[in-house]
């Protein structure tokens, strides 16, 4: 290596807020062991090792650390699902960040790999997990490189491996990386991939990883950001952690705000305190929608989430409030679209993503997402049929039957349905493709209709007045 690390965390915005997981991002050498040790690195691990393993688990449960991968399930509760008397148990770290709009785990892995390693060690110690597999997304070469260096340094320094810090706690952390498949971010697909197979999800039940996971053994699958919170919790305690954020969602979240704002970026924000309006328009945060435009819509939790509009700006950045309003906090990916955005085109782009990334295991998703994409493509191309709008909804209904979660504003008076919706598929990928369709058709049906009736795919309409002979 030897090269000097010249750039800071690209995209990260330090606005002066609390830094539970981004405390080292301001340092150019934040990824090194020297910087980590000089700034409290592995203090949380030492604190954990001074406690009994069940006490460490209790601390995490008391902190109400909600999973940061998308589902938002409390990590301490998930940890409690390992059946008694079944050994070995494994830890699998989900670093396969690929949800459209999501940019946080890559930063955490590139900028502070020792914090993540420390979090892995705390989890392994608490639950008796005898081996850890750190699954990094295949495309993230720099993250892989920095984690490899960090692990090599941590092994040499006695933090990882045999008899950690002179105790009888021993665990190997194995760096593993994927090779390009969104679906592998689903925890059972991640396990399939780690076993050397095509990354196709398993049916739950019975394959809840905590009970039947890697090699059929109890396995904890946690997101990178979730684990990155553990060192802080163990160093400062659950009570201190709960003083950040809200009652139901303590702590902070890393929000990646992308799209049409003046200062897009990754912000570490206290949960439940800040609203979308603060985040989009606040001087500390995104500083407003770009000049001359107004907000048209935004996606609050990654490509899978139902969309929000102007009237949702005062919803707080917190899982229960967002769910009650009809969407999901998901992976903290917020995509802002101003009035220049073509709703049909944006919808098509997300649906195309799900069609490309469908693993093909369940028919409703494999066939349905492809149909949705083709129908939307022909509408965009000017070949749409009047029946296409209802056809889209019908195909969506075959993947995700019943009323789809939509924002509570909805004039039809539908009660908000918590995410995820009902589904005819094993995993939520197929239903996710329905989110942009239902969101856009409910709100912007006229844009679809205009596309269909205008027929602007027919070139003669644009021919010069006396040159085309288009008048029939």
């Amino acid at each position: 290596m030897g090269s000097s690390y010249v750039t800071h965390a690209a995209g990260y915005v330090d606005y002066g807020g609390p830094k539970l997981v981004t405390s080292r991002f301001g340092f150019e050498d934040s990824h090194t062991l020297a910087r980590s040790e000089a700034t409290g690195g592995y203090v949380g691990l030492r604190a954990a090792l001074d406690m009994r393993p069940p006490e460490v688990h209790g601390e995490v449960r008391d902190a109400t650390l909600l999973g940061r991968g998308g589902a938002g399930f409390p990590a301490g509760v998930k940890w409690g699902f390992c059946p008694e008397g079944v050994w070995p148990r494994y830890l699998v770290v989900n670093g396969d960040e690929s949800e459209p709009g999501t940019y946080k785990d890559r930063l955490l892995m590139e900028r502070d790999p020792h914090q993540l390693i420390e979090g892995c060690l705390i989890a392994c110690y608490a639950l008796g997990l005898s081996q850890c597999f750190l699954y990094v997304r295949g495309e993230m070469a720099l993250a892989q490189e920095r984690i490899a260096i960090a692990l090599n340094d941590a092994y040499a320094a006695g933090y990882v491996g045999r008899d950690i810090l002179g105790t009888d706690f021993s665990v190997d952390i194995v760096l593993h990386w994927g090779a390009g498949a969104y679906i592998v971010g689903e925890e059972t697909a991640l396990i399939e991939s780690l076993e050397g197979n095509r990354g196709m999800p398993r049916l739950k039940p019975p394959y809840f990883p905590a009970a039947i996971g890697l090699y059929g053994m109890p396995t904890i699958v946690n997101n990178v950001e979730t684990l990155a919170n553990l060192p802080w919790i163990l160093e400062h305690g659950a009570a201190a952690y709960r003083r950040h954020g809200s009652e139901s969602s303590p702590g902070t979240r890393m929000f990646a705000v992308s799209g049409h704002v003046n200062r897009p970026g990754v912000y570490e924000v206290e949960q439940g305190v800040t609203t979308f309006r603060d985040l989009f328009y606040g001087d500390d945060y995104c500083q407003g929608i770009r000049e001359g435009h107004e907000l048209k819509m935004f996606i609050p939790g990654g490509g899978s989430a139902p969309w929000f509009f102007q009237e949702h700006l005062d919803v707080a950045l917190e899982a229960t409030e967002i769910s009650a309003a009809g969407s999901m906090l998901g992976s903290g990916a917020i995509i802002v679209m101003d009035d220049s955005t073509d709703a049909v085109k944006a919808c098509h782009r997300l649906v195309r993503f799900f069609a490309r990334e469908s693993c093909g295991k369940c028919s409703p998703c494999r066939e349905g997402t492809g149909w949705e994409e083709k129908i939307l493509q022909r509408i965009l191309d000017g070949h749409g049929r009047p029946s296409d709008i209802d056809l889209l909804l019908d195909v969506g209904d075959n993947i995700s039957p019943g009323p789809y979660p939509v924002a509570a504003h909805d004039a039809e008076g539908l009660a908000a349905v918590p995410f995820p919706p009902q589904q005819t598929t094993i995993c939520p990928l197929g239903p996710s493709s329905v989110a942009p369709i239902v969101s856009t058709i409910r709100r912007f049906r006229h844009e679809f209709e205009a596309r269909i009736t205008r027929g602007d795919g027919i070139p003669v309409a644009a021919a010069p007045a006396n040159g085309g002979g288009a008048e029939a």
């Binding site: 290596m1 090269s3 690390y5 010249v6 750039t7 690209a10 995209g11 393993p53 069940p54 050994w87 070995p88 690929s98 459209p100 709009g101 999501t102 940019y103 590139e110 900028r111 008796g128 005898s130 081996q131 295949g138 495309e139 070469a141 720099l142 892989q144 490189e145 984690i147 490899a148 092994y155 040499a156 006695g158 990882v160 045999r162 009888d168 021993s170 665990v171 190997d172 194995v174 760096l175 593993h176 990386w177 994927g178 090779a179 390009g180 498949a181 780690l194 076993e195 050397g196 197979n197 090699y215 059929g216 992308s258 897009p264 490509g303 944006a346 782009r349 997300l350 993503f353 990334e357």
Partner: protein, 215 residues
């Protein structure tokens, strides 16, 4: 007869030794093969099958699921342009068109000189830095047509384009197939080692000791 070089054979054995079941080494070994050859060849799949206790067709079956594995030669530099929503909102379609027209190839194909392969890809987790593209999985943020032209000019001139475009990457730009340039190394005196799950009978030492003390 093996595909892997002697040095890589050692690396492969080391990788396989880290997993309780060697089939788990499938994806890492496919990456190693691609690192050596730039793509995954038939002989590579044969040897990976031997190393993982599978058949070559199982290796192909797993490998073909993943977009990063190439089963035909590609350019030395793989240009991936993200056109997913966050990048599309800020001009990714125009960027892709510029990439295609300036290199003279459509997404999915390789320039005649074998230097560049262009792909249109899904979200690569740089959404706040849109639009973005990667070259051999090294990031270029807040990309413009001019930035892309500079990167191409650098590569053609034998210079490293890394550091352009406000990205977080550093160092040289390796050829296609090479991801992290540093490997994990587990020293023997620190290694815990792995046991097939069926041979594990009880909780690990530190938990067993804690429970004994409790009882």
């Amino acid at each position: 007869m093996g595909f892997f070089t002697p040095a890589n054979e050692k690396v492969a054995a080391d990788i396989a030794s880290r997993y309780p079941r060697r089939r788990s080494a499938m994806i890492p070994l496919l990456h190693l093969a691609q690192e050596q050859e730039g793509w995954v060849t038939g002989p590579a799949m044969e040897q990976i099958a031997e190393l993982t206790g599978t058949t070559p067709v199982e290796v192909l079956g797993t490998g073909s699921f993943y977009e990063m594995f190439k089963f035909h030669p590609v350019g030395r530099y793989l240009v991936n342009v993200c056109t997913n929503i966050s990048c599309q909102l800020l001009g990714a379609d125009d960027l892709l068109e510029h990439v295609e027209s300036s290199l003279g190839v459509r997404a999915g194909s390789t320039t005649a000189d074998g230097l560049f392969t262009v792909e249109e890809v899904e979200c690569v987790a740089a959404c706040t830095e849109a639009p973005c593209f990667t070259v051999n999985y090294r990031y270029f943020h807040r990309a413009t047509a001019d930035l892309f032209d500079e990167v191409v000019a650098d590569i053609r001139a034998g210079r490293s384009p890394i550091g352009r475009g406000a990205a977080g990457d550093d160092g040289e730009l390796p050829e296609h197939g090479i991801l992290g340039r540093v490997r994990q190394h587990i020293p023997d005196d620190r290694r815990v080692g792995t046991t097939p799950p069926e041979q594990v009978t009880g909780p690990p030492a530190w938990l067993a000791a804690d429970r004994a003390g409790e009882g």
